[in-house]
Amino acid sequence: MTESVRVRGYGRAFSGLILRDLRVLRRGLAPFVVRTIMNPLLSVFVFAYVFPKIGQGMRGAGAAGPSFATILIPGLVAMAMVFQGISAVALPLAIELGGTREIEDRILAPVPNWLVAMEKIVFGAVQGVLAGLAVFPVVYLVPATPVDIHVQSWPLLLVVVALASLGSGALGLALGTLVRPQQVGLMFALVLVPMTFLGCVYYPWAALHPIRWLQFGVLINPLVYMSEGLRAALTPELSHMPVLLVLSALVTATVLLSLAGIRAFRRRTIA
């Protein structure tokens, strides 16, 4: 078998795996939309609609600062992507690997084991992008206060979205392979909750300046870079981390999570 025939075979199998996941996603489209937009919908509704109306205002620095909605939007889009990585990759994977072993037929596809794991990351990323897109109209339309977002650099936005969604998929793979089904509840409490609250979703990273230990502590959280990267792309006027730092951190996080996930996937599927 020549190398090109072999690679073509891998490509076909890979697209078969993607097609299967797309089919399953299409079948569950309504639940997908609900689980994707519920959190951002309620977040913007409470923080950017109810709070301003009842005078519990949260604003960026100073009275003339940006509306809270403007600060919130990039963070909520980033969070939606991470949530997608968990609910579209980690949870099904934990079940398929732990209880039903139904991934076995895909493990037996004529491709290297790591490619099956990669497909999970890529498909998680596809769903991450869809989730980000689904969230956008919600967070744009619901707030009572003006929302000031505009894209200054489309290439930057595309790169950030690509990296953030791949990172979310890789996070989903790593969690799905490392966490046993009976530990899923614990994973939510120990990983997801701290990640979102300390992920610079509700505040820009620079605003943490008064709490230095926290400002440096949150740097291990990949969601920080996703939020800040989207801030750089969507609300460039507001303070955000340097773009180069964001991009290199996102690449590093994606690579490390992918490697950990692929390794754990192999350990879980080949005895």
Binding site: M1, R6, R8, G9, Y10, R12, A13, S15, G16, L17, L19, R20, R23, V24, R27, T100, R101, E102, I103, E104, D105, R106, I107, L108, A109, P110, V111, P112, N113, T269, I270, A271
Partner: protein, 313 residues
């Protein structure tokens, strides 16, 4: 012609704690086109052998060659030649019956139209057509297993592995599956089947390897294995009393070849000469002989003779 499967001092030790040596140096050759039975009790290492042949378990030592491909060094390519019917239901629960077949074909590189045609062909052939749109959770155990066989051969593998294919099936589904397996032989597919049902191995297999404690004890045709016992007839004695010493007494009876422990008593292998039965009854009488059954030897007889224990304990 090279064999379909060649196992060469194959070993597997699962990492602990505690480490478990599941397979201890298995040498086997399965010929092309034959149905080969791997017979042994639970925990004998059958599934691990299948796992190693099908790229799901990495051997600790030795080699496994399937269709001239080393499954360890080139697993992706080897998978093209093998179909696997696993011990448990691993059907894709998020996909319909038809989609289980269709996407399997796609994983193996078949184009859309080809995959559709192949899925429909298999649905018809395995009489699953009216359940094409059902989800796997709606299928009975027998139908689910039939679908797993259909899926396993969807990419037309040369070798089919079935790991305990009839465990948990009702008798009717079991017979139906046996017919399917016999159909594989007619199509020239090599079949390796593991089972702890001796009648299954006896009925389906061209050759059988009896495996216990991670080692192959014997390997031959079922007929030859039974013939080598040298026993024309087996007498199963059910005894109410203790039978210490009875085996020694029985061995003195002319025509008795072997006496081993059986379920609830003793198993006596004989050459079925005239008058033997009466002598055995006479000898066993003082040990409160309750019942006596006369039967042909089975693979279980072979197993008991080899290991001194029953196949299913």
């Amino acid at each position: 012609m090279s064999p379909a499967i060649r196992l060469d001092r194959l070993e597997k030790e699962y990492r602990g704690p505690p480490p478990v040596k599941a397979v201890r140096g298995v040498d086997l050759e399965v010929r092309r086109g034959e149905v080969f039975g791997l017979l042994g009790p639970n925990g004998a290492g059958k599934s691990t052998v299948v796992g190693m042949c099908t790229t799901q378990v990495l051997p600790t030592a030795g080699r496994a060659i399937v269709e001239d491909l080393d499954v360890v060094t080139d697993p992706a390519r080897a998978r093209r030649c093998i179909g696997v019917v696993p011990q448990y239901n691993t059907l894709d629960r998020a996909c319909t019956v038809r989609e289980n077949l269709y996407y399997h074909c796609r994983y193996f590189g078949l184009a859309r139209a080809e995959s559709q045609a192949r899925a429909d062909e298999l649905l018809e052939q395995f009489q699953l057509g009216d359940r094409a749109g059902a989800m796997p959770a709606q299928l009975s155990g027998g139908l689910a297993q039939r679908l797993q066989v259909a899926r396993a051969i969807a990419h037309r593998p040369a070798v089919l592995f079935l790991d305990e294919p009839t465990a948990g099936l009702d008798p009717q589904s079991r017979l139906a599956l046996w017919a399917l397996i016999e159909g594989m032989r007619d199509r020239g597919i090599t079949v390796l089947l593991t089972t702890h049902y001796m009648d299954e191995a006896d009925r389906l297999s061209d050759r059988v390897a009896i495996i216990d404690g991670g080692k192959v004890l014997v390997c031959d045709t079922p007929a030859a294995l039974k013939r080598d016992l040298g026993a024309g007839t087996v007498l199963d004695l059910q005894l109410d009393g203790a039978h210490d010493g009875l085996d020694a007494v029985l061995r003195q009876v002319p025509g008795v070849r072997e006496v081993t422990a059986g379920a609830g008593g003793l198993q006596v292998m004989t050459d079925s000469r005239e008058g033997l039965l009466a002598r055995v009854v006479e000898a066993a009488g003082p040990y409160r002989l309750r019942d006596l059954a006369v039967r042909e030897p089975t693979l279980e007889t072979v197993f008991i003779k080899l290991t001194g224990k029953a196949l299913r304990d």
